[in-house]
């Protein structure tokens, strides 16, 4: 499980705390130079980005430290519902059931903030001659009862490699898995059994890297030089689209998904400020730098 924890602390933290304590004892109002922390937990897809934001925000607002950890969208949502984080990262919508739980926990619905997009890339081995694939074909490959099991079924021959398509997928409660099921496999359908269910976005890419007959899906941010990213079309007759910032923004690339911050209905002002900064031009610049797709700025 790829859980990364980044702690942002400045040298003055302990001094500040001591000062704050002293002020508190002397009965003064709480000093604004208090070290405020924001717990930011969730999506494995977004963890690199969330960390970059946290680091950059240190320069903007030294008094606020953002502590980021990954684990998966489900972990973030669970933390939100348990009240152990201020912001949950999620690469999928909150399910109705989870919204209900948030309502009972906080008395109101959890707030949602769109912070960027991620193009879901389809990866194959570098030696694979395939250049593009349609969502229809992907569905036949991944869906339970789908008709495509061999590379020759979609007219591909990889020299010196067994014909079987090695399907690489994600564990069944990851946000990426949920999105892929909804967008490609079919909302009410299930995955074909026997797919290799990797436990992290990065593991998908490294397995495809070393397996000539493999196909897998993962965020475009995890692209390496040793794998091939396919162009994707909606149906077989549509033009195949390269996953880029432009094609994601104008929605021609068919499998891009939004990334969200979820927060309790009422949050402290420093959290609101952080969220405002994330969607500001400055915060959105980092989105593009990290290989994700920023919000359209008007």
């Amino acid at each position: 499980m790829t859980t990364t924890i980044k702690r942002m602390t400045s040298p003055g933290v302990s001094l500040g705390l001591i000062a704050a304590l002293g002020l508190g004892l002397s009965g003064c109002k709480r000093n604004t130079s208090d070290q405020l922390t924001i717990q930011n937990i969730g999506s494995d897809t977004m963890v690199n980005l969330a960390q970059a934001w946290a680091e950059a925000y240190q320069a903007v607002e030294p008094a606020v430290s953002v502590e980021v950890s990954g684990g998966g969208s489900g972990i973030g949502v669970a933390a939100l519902l348990n009240g152990t984080c201020e912001i949950a990262n999620s690469s999928r919508h909150l399910e109705a059931e989870e919204m209900e739980k948030a309502k009972t926990r906080y008395g109101a619905e959890a707030k949602e903030l769109l912070v960027g997009y991620d193009a879901l890339a389809i990866y194959v081995h570098a030696s694979n001659p395939l250049e593009h694939i349609s969502v229809e074909e992907l569905s036949e490959i991944y869906r339970e009862g789908g008709s495509v099991n061999k590379w020759s079924d979609i007219g591909v021959q990889i020299p010196g490699v067994p014909d079987e398509i090695v399907r690489v997928s994600r564990q069944n409660n990851s946000g990426t898995y949920h999105y892929f099921r909804e967008a490609v496999v079919g909302k009410q359908a299930d995955f074909k059994p026997g797919s290799r269910d990797m436990n992290g976005s990065k593991d998908v890419v490294s397995l495809v890297e070393s397996t000539p007959g493999a196909i897998g899906y993962s965020g475009i941010g995890y692209r390496t030089d040793k794998v091939k990213v396919l162009n994707v079309s909606k149906t077989k007759s549509d033009p195949a689209i390269v996953p880029t910032i432009e094609t994601t923004l104008d929605k021609t690339y068919p499998i891009a998904r939004p990334m969200y911050f979820y927060t309790p209905p009422d949050v402290a002002s420093h959290v609101t400020k952080y969220m405002e900064w994330v969607v500001s031009p400055e915060g959105q610049k980092i989105v593009a730098e990290k290989g994700y797709v920023p919000l359209e700025l008007r």
């Binding site: 499980m1 684990g71 998966g72 969208s73 489900g74 972990i75 669970a78 059931e97 989870e98 739980k101 099991n149 490699v161 067994p162 079987e164 090695v166 564990q171 069944n172 409660n173 990851s174 898995y177 949920h178 099921r181 909302k187 009410q188 359908a189 299930d190 995955f191 059994p193 026997g194 797919s195 290799r196 269910d197 990797m198 436990n199 593991d203 490294s206 397995l207 070393s210 397996t211 000539p212 007959g213 493999a214």
Partner: protein, 330 residues
Amino acid sequence: MEWRVRLRTGRMLPKDEKMRAKRSIWKVAVEKGIEVVIHLCGISAIVFVFGILFFLAREGLPLLWKEDTTFSISKFFGSTEWYPTSMANKRYGIFALIVGSASVVTLAMVIAVPFAIGAAVFVSEFCGPKIKETLKVIIELLAAIPSIVWGFIGLTVISPLVIKVFHVPVGLNVFNAAFILALMAMPIMVSIGEDALKAVPDGFREAAVALGATRWQMIHRVLLPAAKNGLLAAVLLGVGRAVGETMAVLMATGHAINIPFVTSDGEFNWLWMFESVRTLTATIAAELGETGQGSDHYRVLFLLGILLLSITFIINFTADVIVKGIRKQI
């Protein structure tokens, strides 16, 4: 026994009564306190085991008598369909996971047992003290490698090698995981096996040599039968290690719901060791973190935990029975 007698008679002496009187209440209290602590340490193991059992049962068992659920115990054991997060039709069949665990552990033991016993014999009987020390250090080093590192080696080093050497579609498979598990289980098997061989009295060896046995005959006919107990314990501990291993198998098996022994045409698959599988432990590790507390999926994962506990309990219990049986024969 002697010390108890002395203690008891000692207490009767008037001199001792005086000594007791001299001791401060504080010291007596401390001693009593320590006694209680040691007592607690003794029974804590039992408390923990029952605590864990209770916790597992409390989290897992309610599902068995829940009304509105797609879970059923016959499908739980009999079905290969594991779709705990499906939107349309949630299914909880773990047959494929059991087969996956069993196939990986069996192949791991087939690889590890001959090597481990061979290594134990070599270390205890053949090599000189210098080589022995070096070998033991290196073997123990194997045990010091964290399992996530083994998994990483499986994913990035062994997987491409397996594809290249055996010309199979995927390198994350039963063989890859079994190979890693064999290496992981080896250190404990070698060191316990070596202890077992060392425990055979030298008189046995001398008698065998005196009767004209060659070194090989001595090992084969005298040492191995005499150390049977300890060697069996070594193997079973290795099995226990392999069944419970999680992180390395999660990464090296491919984590795919699959019965490796059957081909898509329904025939026996002779190349089963090159199929991806999924184990019980890896499923819990991959899914428990993100399930809602108290959901059916959550409870099913705890049932898997209960099943794993039962399996290891049965292994240990059989080992105990066998070892005791052998002891009686001797």
